[in-house]
Amino acid sequence: MTWLTFLIVSGIAVIFAGGLIFSRNAVHGAMCLVASFCAIATLFLLLSAEFIFVVQIAVYAGAIMVLFLFVMMLLNVQGQEGALAGRAPGQLLVALALGAALLGQAVWLVARGGEIISRPARIPAGFGSPEDIGTALFTRNLLPFEITSLVLLAAMAGAVVLARKAGLSPKPNGAPAGGKPE
C-alpha cells in the first residue's frame, strides 16, 4: 500500500465525485458516481477488505446505481435544471461556506492529531474474508443484523405501497415497480 497507488486511485475517486456534482446531465452524474464507487471499491481492496470490495461493487454499482438509472429513465426528465440557486437564494454561498468549513475541520483534525495511527495494524491471514466478517456479523453484531432485516422489510413494504398508483388496485398483470414506462 503505497502513496502512489493511493494517490492515483483516490484521485480517480475524487475526480469522478466532482463529476457527479458538476455534471449537468443526471445520467452522466450517475455514471461518474459509478466510476467513483468502483475507485472506492479498489481502495477497499488496498485496505485488505476483499469481501467488502465485492459487496461494494455488487450493491452500489450493481444494484443501487442501476435503480437510480432506472428511475431517471422512467421519469425521463433531462436538463431541467436551470440556475443552481433555484428559489432558495444564497444557497450556493451557504453551501460553499459550509463545505469549506467541513473540509477545513477534517484537515485540521488530521493535521493536529498526534494520535493518528501512522501504520496499519498487523492482521491475521483471513482478515476481511467472508468467514471473518460472517463470524463478526453473527456473533458480536447479531442484534444489529436482525434489526437490519427489519429495516429492509419495512423499506420493501414502503416502496411497494409508494410505487403503486394511488387510487388504483394493483394491475392484474402487475409488473414490479416501473416494469413498463407509462
Binding site: M31, V34, F51, V54, I57, A61, A175, K180
Partner: protein, 375 residues
Amino acid sequence: MLFDLIASFIKAVLVFAVVMSFVPFLIWLERKLVAWMQQRIGPNRTGPFGLLQPIADAVKLIIKENIFPSGVEKITYFLAPMMSMIPALAAFAVIPFGSPVRIMGRTVNLQVADVNIGILYILALSSLAVYGAVLAGWSSNNKYSLLGGLRTSAQMISYELPIGLSVVSIVLLTGSLSLNEVVRSQASHGIWNIFPQFLGFIILLISYNAELNRAPFDLGEAESEIVAGYHTEYSGFRFAMFYMGEYVNMVTVAALVTVLFLGGWQAPFGPEIPLLWFLIKIFAFILLYMWVRATFPRVRYDQLMALGWKILVPASLANLAMTAVIIVLGGPNAVRILSVGSIVLAVLVGLVLKAAVALRTKSAPGLAPPAGAGS
C-alpha cells in the same frame, strides 16, 4: 513472483483469445443448428458448410462506417457496447477449467485468478452487465431503444434474485465461495451438484436464459414490438460488440453452470483429460440453450416478470430453505437426502404450477389466460 506474473498474463491472454474465437464458431453453430431444427439450410455459401460466414460478417461489420446518429449522448453511446462486453469477459477470470497442472516444476492453476470469493465476484460482475443495455437504450435517443433498455434492465435485475438464491444454496453445500472449492467438494461428495441441487439447477437454467436475453426471453430486443431494442441505433463495430458480448456471456454462463453443477473439469467416466470434459460440458450446455431458442416462442413481458417474481423467486427460496434445513439436520447424509429431496421438491413445484394453470383455465372457460398472469 515473476513466473506467476507471466503465467497469469499468458493465461489471461489465452483465455481471452479462446473465448473470443469461440464467438464466430458459436454464431455459425447457432445459425446452422436453428436452421436444421426449422427445416432450413442455413449459411452455406461462404466456405465449407458456410463455416466462414461469421468471419465474413465480422469483416463487414468492422469495416463499416461508424455512425453517430444525431441526438445521441456521445459519451454514453460510445461506452455502452464496451460495458456490455467487459463484465462477461472479466467474469471468465475466476472460472477454473481444469485441475492444476505442473509446468516447469511448478503447479499452475488452470484459472486466470484463484480468488477465494470467486462466486461473489461473478455475481458482482453480472450485476454490472445491466449498464450496457440500459445506457445504450438511453443514449440512443430513440423511443424503442429506451423501452428495450428499460425492459432489459428490469428483466436482468429481476432474474438476478433467483440466480443469487440458487447460487447461495450451492455455497451452503460447498461451504466456500471459491469456485475451485466448489469443484473439489463435488469430487469429495462423489456426486455432482446437479443432483442435490436439481431444483436450483432448473431455476438457474431458466434465470440465466433471461439474464442472457436469449429467446424465449429476449424481450429487450423483440423485433416485432420494439425493432431491435436497445441496439436499434447501433451499427458497425459497435453493433458487433453487443453481438459478441451476448455470445461471450453465453460461454461464461455455460462455464459457470458447468463449474457449479456439472462437476467442472471432472470426467463422468473414463480418464480425466485436461480441458476436454470441461469443453464438452460447456458445449452441451450451449447446445441446450440453442435448442431452447429454436423450440419456444417468445413470452410476453408480464409473463416474464410473473415467472421471475411469482415462481422462480419463491421456488428458489424454498430450495434454499430446504437445503439449509437438510444440511443442518442431515449430518453426513445431507447430500444424499438432498438428492432425493431436491427432485421431490422440483416435482412438487411442477405439480403446483400445473394445478395453478389448470385452476385458472377452469375458472375462465374458453379463455386461457397466460400462466402467471394475475393472482
